[in-house]
């Protein structure tokens, strides 16, 4: 195959049509990839939400029969796996993709084709994982899949889907993280030193480092598990003398950094939104950045707090209790610095701002209950109960998801060029704020009243009926909020107000260019002089420390300077999606037929070598490849 591809310009003509299905399939534009990530993650969010709804219906009363025990176990496994790997992480990736190049003044990411590869690999991994529903054996061992329940003899092929799905998703996450680290370190606009980076970019950098260091660990864990299941190895086989705790150590050595992978992007968003709608710079920028870095480091030293009741002994338990408590210090610093940003500000209650304020309140609750878990003796009562379910949803729903929606409302005008409706937005916020608390707050009570997690049923007389019914009501409130959001999106697409370059009077570079941004982002790469450079172009600081609008305001958009002529943007390519498909087929063959793997392997090799021989940017004089391939129309104006 490789020789075939060593034609002068690869097998295929470069796909250069600006619109249509193929343009999306072959796109390497970070903004389009960001949009793809966002839409895909949102659809998966609906799937994960339906899974949650079914579980809440089953638990709404004692001994209900909405779903079978098998189905319930599959639901909570897939709900956790979906929300973590297929929703919150890719929603973060959507923002990384769309916003990072714009915020650092770059035309694209460092490796545009690798970026497309990440997206398609993520999509195919998600499909592979969810395909298990249709083969009748979705994974049913929990998103943590403890050994030896995950091993041969105790669980079904669903676990193989889980392993292979995560394996493929891991490749996607790693490729994306490599890309963002290089982009952030190497593609900053001239003058933008690291300490002038927007906090969201900083948090992306920290998250990307966490990904590249944490994902190899889970990769090893699930590879060993795969070997146990497929090749008869004995890594987690307790009958052969292995300790099942090795799985837990590997899993949580990944799993705890993963928690910060999920929450830090939201913290980054909040750190962007609060200053804009307070008309004040972020309070203590340096401290907030440092706190984020320290959280990233300390996140590696606390994993065993997931294992306080596994009998690690008093010394280890004490050590991990202390490390867990002290990770609250940098977290607290962030919260207080956000409050410091609000203090004395000029606060505008946009929907985005409401979500950020909601984030602070709800995340504080989740953070505090996290500290409660570090108190080992009382955690022995809370571990594996609904108290933990409450805690983690305050962090991941009240925290990560509220932060992400703050980002959606904040950046939507930039991404689409149209405003979202604020009234609907606020309705959405209040429905979610209420629904979230109605659903998850009672779970604290349930846990302390002795209700374990992951039970598909409970008997009457345990005293859990009322709060379970109450929590189920909350899901409907959340669902209503989601409908309002969808209506808002529909409304905005249909007849949303035009956004203009800078609807929020914002601070960072992405607001200096048109909405939606042209495909080359910046007609001219900006030179950066200040932190929040765009703000400083609009405002000078008066003698009393208050901002004074500069006469000329921000330099008008660079749009009139040449419409992006002479800008060489990387050319779209077929190979990223082909390589992704090849890799996914290799994995898929292991749960279907080995011939599928062989085909996947050949496809992957072909795509890889073709990729190598394909120049990132097609020469201007490029002609179409071999006959038989449709010759795409050259884009008018810009030379893509």
């Amino acid at each position: 195959m490789a020789t075939a591809s060593i034609a002068k310009r690869g097998m295929f003509a470069r796909p250069i049509a600006p619109t249509g299905l193929w343009s999306w399939i072959t796109t390497i534009d970070h903004k389009r990839i960001g949009a793809l990530y966002g839409v895909t993650a949102f659809i998966l969010f609906l799937i994960g939400g339906v899974e949650a709804l079914l579980m809440r219906l089953q638990l709404s009363q004692a001994e209900a029969g909405v779903v079978t025990p098998e189905a319930f176990n599959q639901l909570f496994t897939m709900h956790g796996t979906t929300m973590i790997f297929l929703v919150i992480m890719p929603m973060g990736a959507a923002f990384f993709n769309f916003m990072i190049p714009l915020m650092i003044g770059a035309r694209d990411v460092a490796f545009p084709r690798l970026n497309a590869f990440s997206y398609w690999t993520f999509l195919f991994g998600a499909i592979l994982l969810n395909a298990s529903f249709f083969t009748g054996s979705a994974p049913d061992v929990g998103w943590f899949a403890y050994a030896p329940l995950n091993g041969p003899g105790f669980s079904d092929t669903g676990v193989d889907y889980w392993i292979l799905g995560l394996q493929v998703l891991g490749v996607a996450s790693l490729a994306a993280a490599f890309n963002f680290i290089v982009t952030i370190i190497n593609l900053r606009a001239p003058g933008m030193s690291m300490m002038k980076l927007p906090v969201f970019v900083w948090m992306t950098l920290v998250v990307s480092f966490l990904i590249i260091l944490a994902f190899p660990v889970i990769t090893v864990a699930i590879t060993l598990l795969l070997f146990d299941r497929q090749f008869g190895t004995e890594f987690f086989n307790s009958a052969a003398g292995a300790s099942p705790l090795v799985w837990q150590h590997l899993f949580w050595a990944f799993g705890h950094p993963e928690v910060y992978i999920l929450i830090l992007p939201a913290m980054g968003i909040v750190s962007e939104v609060l200053p804009v709608f307070s008309k004040k710079p972020l309070f203590g920028y340096t401290t907030v950045v440092l706190a984020g870095i320290i959280i990233g480091f300390m996140g590696w030293g606390v994993w065993a707090h997931h294992m306080f009741v596994t009998g690690l002994g008093p010394v280890a338990n004490s050590a991990f209790a202390i490390s867990t408590m002290f990770i609250a210090v940098p977290t607290g610093i962030k919260i207080f610095n956000w409050l410091g940003t609000l203090w004395g500000g000029s606060i505008r209650f946009t929907t985005s701002m409401l979500f950020s304020i909601g984030f602070i309140l709800l995340f504080t609750i989740g953070g505090i209950s996290g500290v409660m878990h570090s108190v080992v003796p009382s955690d022995a009562q809370q571990s594996d109960t609904y108290f933990i379910v409450a805690h983690l949803h305050y962090v991941l729903f009240g925290g990560a998801l509220m932060g992400i929606f703050s980002g959606i409302y904040y950046w939507w005008p930039k991404m689409t060029g149209r405003m979202l409706n604020e009234t609907l937005g606020k309705l959405h916020f209040w429905l979610w704020f209420l629904g979230m608390n109605i659903t998850f707050f009672p779970m604290h009570f349930l846990g302390l009243d002795g209700m374990p997690r992951r039970v598909y049923t409970y008997s009457e007389g345990m005293g859990w009926d009322f709060w379970n019914a109450f929590a189920t009501v909350g899901v409907f409130v959340l669902g209503l909020g989601l409908l309002v959001f969808l209506q808002n999106v529909w409304h905005s697409r249909k007849n949303g107000e035009a956004a203009g370059n800078d609807p929020w009077d914002a601070r960072t570079l992405e607001w200096s260019i048109p909405s939606p941004p042209p495909h080359y982002n910046f007609a001219q790469i900006p030179h950066v002089y200040e932190r929040d450079d765009f703000w400083h172009k609009k405002y000078a600081e008066g003698a009393d420390g208050r901002p004074v609008r500069t006469v000329q305001g921000a330099a008008p958009s660079s749009e009139e300077h040449g419409h992006g002529h002479n800008i060489h943007m990387p050319t779209p390519s077929y190979y990223p999606i082909l390589l992704s498909a090849g890799l996914t087929l290799i994995a898929g063959g292991l749960v279907s037929h080995i011939s599928v793997s062989v085909i996947g392997g050949i496809l992957a090799l072909f795509a890889l070598y073709s990729w190598v021989f394909e120049p990132p940017t097609a020469p201007e004089t490029q002609t179409a490849g071999p006959a038989g391939h449709a010759r795409d129309k050259r884009r008018g104006g810009g030379k893509r």
């Binding site: 300790s243 596994t310 609250a328 505008r348 080992v376 003796p377 707050f441 002795g450």
Partner: protein, 376 residues
Amino acid sequence: MKEHFPKFMKETHLLGRLFLRRGLALGLLLAFALLLLGCYPDNPQSTFDPKGPVARNQLTLFWVIFWASVVVFAIVAGILIYSVIKFRYKGENRLPVQVHGNRNLEVLWTVVPALLLVAIAVMTVRTIFELDEAPSDDQLIVDVYGHQWWWEAVYPQYAVSTANEIHVPVGRDVTVNLISDDVIHSFWVPKLAGKEDVIPNEANDIWFRADEPGIYLGQCAEFCGIAHALMKFRVVASPMEEFEDWVASQQAPARQPANDEAARGLAVFNSKGCVACHTTTGGFDTAEVRDARTEGFLTGQPVTHGPNLTHFATRDVFAGAIADSTEGNLRAWLEDPEEFKPGNRMAALAPAFKDPSLRLSEEEITALIAYLQSLK
């Protein structure tokens, strides 16, 4: 001015004021009311009703950290709510002073939480070590085996074994050795002690003491497969004499069938293969017996280790403590164990439920129940 007042700003003012103040105040009030309603010490697995020193210490520590949390949250929420009410947007000509930070403040909110955490850490570590081992030397030892999905309790000091009901004397420290031959379970009796995982190849133990007689409900707390929700048990704490009576009753040799019906039941028990997994002949199952059965299960044989039924009729509950040992329940169980407790091993493995030719008839079930109820 105008360009900084797009349409959304007008809406913001109306809705922001209306919602934010009332909404937040109402929400907080509601949350606090719920907080007070949330704790039900009467619930059978409530952690707010400790009946022994371990659970009591754990609850004490919980209240300390709980009130510390309430204070911290009140401070954060207080500042937040004050800020959003006080520092509302007042127009483009009253822009705020551009404060970039304040070192003293930042040091303050680094050091103060750290000090608070030091205090909590000291209490935590002290309690961890205090609760690590039972204080008394004269302990009752119970080896508890977690099985998919029932509990077996073996008393090595008395050569007695039982299932799903763990009898202990009031006032005596009990150390429970936690053993698993299959997957991870977690041993949890909320009113007596927090949980500890039951892990293959890990020698875990937990101790507790019951201060007053009673039946304390427990439940597996680590997801262990399909019937995880139905893996319950109970600790029966009774005064010393009663406990000793119970031990004596368990040490007694197996009862012979008291009447014809029960004798027929014994014949069914042996002929339909029940005997492959269950002991009814007295004593407790040795390690060899247990290992052989577990081995059988792991290699796909229709055999696994089931509860010792020698003194079945002395137990109030069965099938992972999910049902009282009434005749009706036993009949339902023997007629369709899969329906009664989805996923259980007996339904999956026992020839009587897999092989149509060995199906239990109505009469056989009646006889089996008579036999089981005679096993006092």
